[in-house]
């Protein structure tokens, strides 16, 4: 090989590779600047410059390089950044394309890549064997928080998460197709041509920048008289031109879920120098495919031997990719260690490019005759029946130790790279995710698709189809159409092994790595078996083999074989761990897609929101709703504002936005009968024009929701629910209506958002609304408390309720939502002139607590019956059926001593209890104390000039007048049990 002055790297070979020599890109690695060719991966670009050391291993901090040329890479994980906010850790150097200006850094090393303090772990490795953490960091318990956890946290994990907010955006697309083909190698392309010929809609998806799959490295396959790679590009171009075909490059099918549903991650800008602002960084495709063709190929395995992890040791197919696709040689003097014929072809290609092949060491006694003959013809030294039993070199391999199998003199052969192959593992991940069942192919020591669980078919290498003519036929058949593709290979491949190679067997203590990313050695797996792990799932968890982010794409089969050997059981009986999605790591951004910032969740605003905001409202989140919380005037804090609002409502009046209340229109001749069944109250006795407060229980007798129901006509009710309960109450009602009471002639419609609701409460409520109302006499006699009428308000058709959630004279004006703002404006203008106030949800809570009105979900928690809440009167004694009638009779619901809602008054009126605080009878009782219940609502009541609270207390009502205690961390608060009405106990004001 002639030395090249090429600025894109001394290991770049002229005339080899598919990149355009003139198109370069500059990037930095650990601060040093390099020039690459467009189309390079970070791995190929660094190798071109002779850089093999890319990282430190996870546990032992051993120097590590590039092992593969694809997404299965376990070692070369780097930190790639575009700018300070666009930084991603754990990027595989073999996948990331170089772009001009990329800043790339190694990970998991300190202070530098070539001198890493953590490498001391390697010396201490006898103490870091499998299960080390489980055994060591057990006792004393106290040491966990202070000692073990901080140490483990610092040492564990790969890379460093970005700290700044991600400035990129991500897209999502749902799509449907007749056939989705995963993988665009020979098999995938052929299947796509065949499927497309039938007119079916086809998705062809491939994770690489260009189609071709194995044709990236395999230069000896000819298709239709063309070089295979060129044929592939040609085929893709033909497919892209067809209207029924979508070809997605740089897109990983990461998950194959139920019923033909697949998750695809498309990388849109990670390779682009200056992405257009509108481009999403990644796009999530959620595809429903009628049929799936898996053409995912196979992944080459490494050889498991002592010190097989030094930089410079890599898969033979990877070296071939770097050479044939990127034009980069992995070394000047390359050794080959193999159990499979395919590595010979890598040696031939390197040899042809002028690279010295130090020797081909083949652990098999009789490799394929054709490849051996070819090697010998080229003058390459082939050592059959030999093994590499060790390597040397601190930061990169410098020699390999070769021994004849069964013993003999070891000899060291100098190399600057060692390419290895233990054969090929079919990529059955997606097949397995689809819940397909595998079978073990004993002859070839591999798992292959056997029983399909979905409408799916595997073709090509992932199906174990080795012969290229068979592969093409299989792919055409899978596509369901026709295609004419004739392909031929130069060599047929044989061989392959799984498990530890010569010199790394059970009688040795060498570090022969099985899982590179988690530093799991053959010895660790044997230790797991010796310690009693007999299932592959237990062995996996004990050793963490295959649990790294590469999910054991290289290590699973080796680990399984080693465990099977130790257990003395055939491989199929030991079992394969189940493959789970995602196939390769997926960014959170992709999975989240549009659900960020304003689109994270809907923000629901009432029709009056803008007016409230203009009036200075602070808002609180109630579910997805923004509700006006309180309306501070200049200089007021929340406490002062709420006190003012509460006082003003009771002295004069207040205006409140109640639009978020759930509303359901119940219509039909059987409406009353239906409500009789769904609520504890009786509804047939309610006359049109009247309202009633209703409680809804579940079948178990516990309160589910409450609200005021107005009867507008014999066959029409306006039902209100709690703000948070609206959807579930409608669902609950529909459930009973459709499945238990389908004979009833009644229909339900959600009208929550049809109506803007303006509550006007207080002594001047009538005076405030009077001038706007037409069509109803608002006098106490004509329109008493709990009345409803259809009328107009400011000329707008309205439903007017005389109801009160404050205990004051009150009205709720319902107008069609688009008119809400205008009507609110008119009412508020007049209310303000009369001295009333706007009030928010906080004052609403205080005012209702002053009257002992409960809030479902705050004062109740799903274990409270109407009687527990003091609302036993709302349960009809006459009805023979309603949802909950039987549940309420359950022994536990009628026993003495149940928790009941009561009022609490602190001995010191200035003390405001904490909501959620526990209540006891004897504050001096030794722990554990007997808890009687807890505080559910607690406020400062300006109108009562003291604190008030509502609590659930065991046998509470019988304890009226007793003193109980609320122990807090710093003191104990004495409270007196009272009834729940703190203000206007006679209840006269509501009829004002």
């Amino acid at each position: 090989m002639s030395a090249s002055p090429d600025k894109t790297g001394a290991f770049r070979i002229k005339g080899v590779g598919r990149h355009t020599p003139a198109r370069t890109a500059r990037f930095t690695f650990d601060g040093k600047s390099y020039t690459a060719l467009e189309g390079d991966t970070v791995a190929s670009a660094l190798l071109a410059h002779g850089v093999h050391l890319l990282g430190r291993s996870f546990k032992y901090h051993r120097p590590r390089g590039i092992l593969t040329a694809g997404p299965e890479e376990p070692n070369a994980l780097l930190d790639v950044s575009r700018d300070s906010a666009r930084r991603q850790p754990n990027v595989r150097a073999t996948v990331q394309e170089v772009f001009d200006g990329a800043k790339i850094a190694s990970q998991n090393r300190w202070p530098s890549l070539s001198f890493d303090v953590g490498a001391f772990n390697d010396v201490l490795s006898p103490f870091f064997a499998a299960g080390f953490y489980y055994k060591t960091f057990m006792w004393p318990r106290e040491a966990w928080a202070k000692l073990y956890e901080p140490i483990i946290r610092r040492a564990a994990g790969l890379g460093e998460a970005p700290k700044e907010e991600d400035p990129d955006h991500y897209a999502n697309r749902f799509a449907h197709c007749d056939v989705l083909i995963a993988g665009a190698g020979i098999a995938g392309l052929t299947a796509a041509l065949s499927a497309a010929s039938t007119g079916q809609t086809v998705f062809l998806v491939d994770e690489q920048p260009e189609v071709g799959g194995a044709l990236h490295f395999d230069t000896s396959t000819m298709i239709d008289g063309q070089n295979g790679y060129d044929w592939a590009q040609d085929a893709a171009a033909r497919l892209k031109a067809m209207p029924n075909v979508t070809v997605l490059n740089r897109t990983t099918v990461f998950g194959y879920y139920n019923h033909g549903f697949l998750g695809l991650a498309e990388r849109v800008t990670d390779h682009v120098v200056r992405p257009a602002k509108d481009l999403p960084r990644e796009r999530l495709w959620q595809v429903r495919a009628k049929k799936v063709v898996l053409a995912t190929g196979a992944i080459e395995r490494h050889m498991v031997f002592a010190n097989n992890d030094r930089p410079g040791i890599m898969l033979a197919s990877a070296a071939r990719s770097f050479l044939n696709h990127h034009g980069v040689s992995v070394g000047h003097n390359v050794g080959v260690y193999t159990a499979h014929d395919s590595a010979y072809e890598a040696a031939f290609d390197l040899h042809r490019a002028g690279v010295t092949i130090a020797a081909i060491v083949d652990c098999r006694a009789d490799p394929g005759e054709a490849v051996v003959a070819q090697a010998r013809a080229l003058g390459v030294d082939v050592l059959t029946g030999h093994s590499v039993t060790d390597t040397s070199g601190r930061l990169r391999i410098s020699s390999m130790t070769v021994v004849r199998n069964g013993g003999g003199n070891a000899r060291k052969i100098k190399v600057d790279a060692l390419i290895v192959s233990a054969g090929w593992t079919p990529s059955v991940h997606l097949f397995s995710q689809s819940r397909g069942k595998l079978r073990f192919d004993e002859a070839n020591q591999r798992f292959l698709p056997d029983i399909y669980a979905q409408n799916c078919i595997s073709v090509g290498a992932c199906n174990g189809t080795d012969d290229i003519a068979d592969l093409v036929d299989e792919a055409i058949a899978a596509g369901g159409g026709s295609a004419v593709v004739s392909a031929e290979n130069r060599f047929e491949w044989t061989g392959g092994m799984i498990g530890a190679a010569e010199g790394a067997g059970p009688d040795t203590v060498v570090k022969a790595f099985v899982d590179f990313q988690h530093d799991v050695t053959a010895k660790d797996i044997r230790l797991a078996v010796r310690e009693g792990m007999h299932s592959i799932e237990h062995i996996k968890r004990f050793t963490t083999n295959g649990m790294a982010s590469d999910q054991g794409k290289l290590s699973n089969m080796h680990g399984l074989a080693i465990a099977a050997e130790m257990l003395g059981r055939p491989i199929p009986q030991v079992g394969l761990t189940t493959f789970r999605a995602p196939y390769t790591p997926v960014t959170y951004g992709t999975l989240i897609a549009h659900s960020r910032a304003e689109l994270f969740d809907p923000t629901r605003k009432t029709p009056m929101h803008a007016l409230e905001a203009a009036a200075g409202a602070e808002f609180e989140d109630v579910g997805n709703w923004k509700r006006a919380w309180y309306f501070p005037k200049r200089g007021e804090d929340m406490h002062v504002a709420v006190n003012r609002e509460c006082r003003t409502v009771r002295d004069i009046g207040g205006v409140f936005d109640a639009s978020t209340l759930g509303k359901i229109e119940v219509v039909g001749p059987d409406a009353a009968q239906f409500l009789n069944l769904l609520y504890t109250n009786a509804w047939d006795t309610l006359k049109p024009g009247k309202c009633r407060y209703g409680i809804m229980t579940r079948e178990d007798g516990f309160i589910y929701d409450d609200g005021v129901v107005g009867r507008l006509a014999e066959d029409r009710f306006h039902v209100t629910t709690t703000t948070g309960g609206a959807p579930r109450v409608l669902h609950h009602m529909e459930d009973y209506l459709q499945t238990e009471f389908p004979h009833l002639k009644v229909w339900l419609t959600s009208t929550t958002e049809q109506w803007a609701v303006i509550a006007v409460q207080g002594p001047k409520a009538r005076e405030i609304i009077q001038p706007f109302v037409e069509g109803v006499d608002l006098s106490n006699e004509a329109f008493p408390h709990m009345s409803v009428a259809e009328c107009t308000v400011t000329g707008v058709p309205a439903r007017l309720f005389r109801v009160s959630f404050t205990g004051e004279l009150g009205f709720e004006v319902n107008v069609p939502a688009d008119f809400g703002a205008a009507v609110w404006k008119a009412i508020w203008e007049r209310a303000e002139g009369l001295g009333a106030c706007l009030y928010g949800t906080e004052s609403m809570h205080v005012l209702r607590a002053e009257k002992g009105y409960l809030i479902v979900g705050q004062d109740t928690d799903g274990t409270v019956t109407p009687d527990d809440a003091g609302y036993g009167w709302a349960v009809s004694k006459k009805k023979t059926d309603f949802v909950g009638i039987r549940g309420l009779k359950r022994p536990d619901l009628v026993r003495e001593g149940r928790k009941q809602l009561v009022g609490l008054l602190t001995r010191d009126p200035g003390d405001v209890l904490e909501e959620g605080a526990q209540i006891v009878a004897d504050p001096n009782q030794p722990k554990p104390m007997t808890m009687l219940g807890h505080v559910t609502s607690s406020y400062w009541s300006e109108n009562c000039d003291r604190s008030i609270a509502i609590a659930l207390v065991a046998g509470g009502r019988a304890k009226a007048g007793e003193t109980l205690y609320v122990p807090m961390s710093d003191r104990t608060i004495a409270v007196e049990v009272t009834d729940m009405v703190f203000f206007d106990k006679e209840g006269g004001r509501i009829h004002g």
Binding site: H259, Q286, S432, G575, D700, H731, D881, R886, P891
Partner: protein, 118 residues
Amino acid sequence: MLLIHCPYCEEDRSELEFRWAGEAHIARPENISAITDEEFAEYFFLRNNEKGLTYERWRHIHGCGRFFNAARDTVSDRFLMTYKAGLARQPVPTAEEAAAIIEDKTVETWEAVEGDAR
């Protein structure tokens, strides 16, 4: 994500549009207020939660809004059939066939060797 055939919309729709609604064919007792505690427990609290063929209710809540019944294999997640609410429990003649399909002839996944591992 499941693909569910809505018997009212008469087509397969994404699971996103549906809500699961518990075991099917549990009728609310007509004389519910008169039943014993044991009968109430049986009706309201106790569910079989069987592995394999189950009858369950779904609601096409973000579609036609209808509740309906489904026969689903909880091991394979395969829907054997769906049918309208109110219809009696429908026989699933293909249950054996379906079971035969998912019956493992080979042993390789954790699920398959679970018993072995114990």
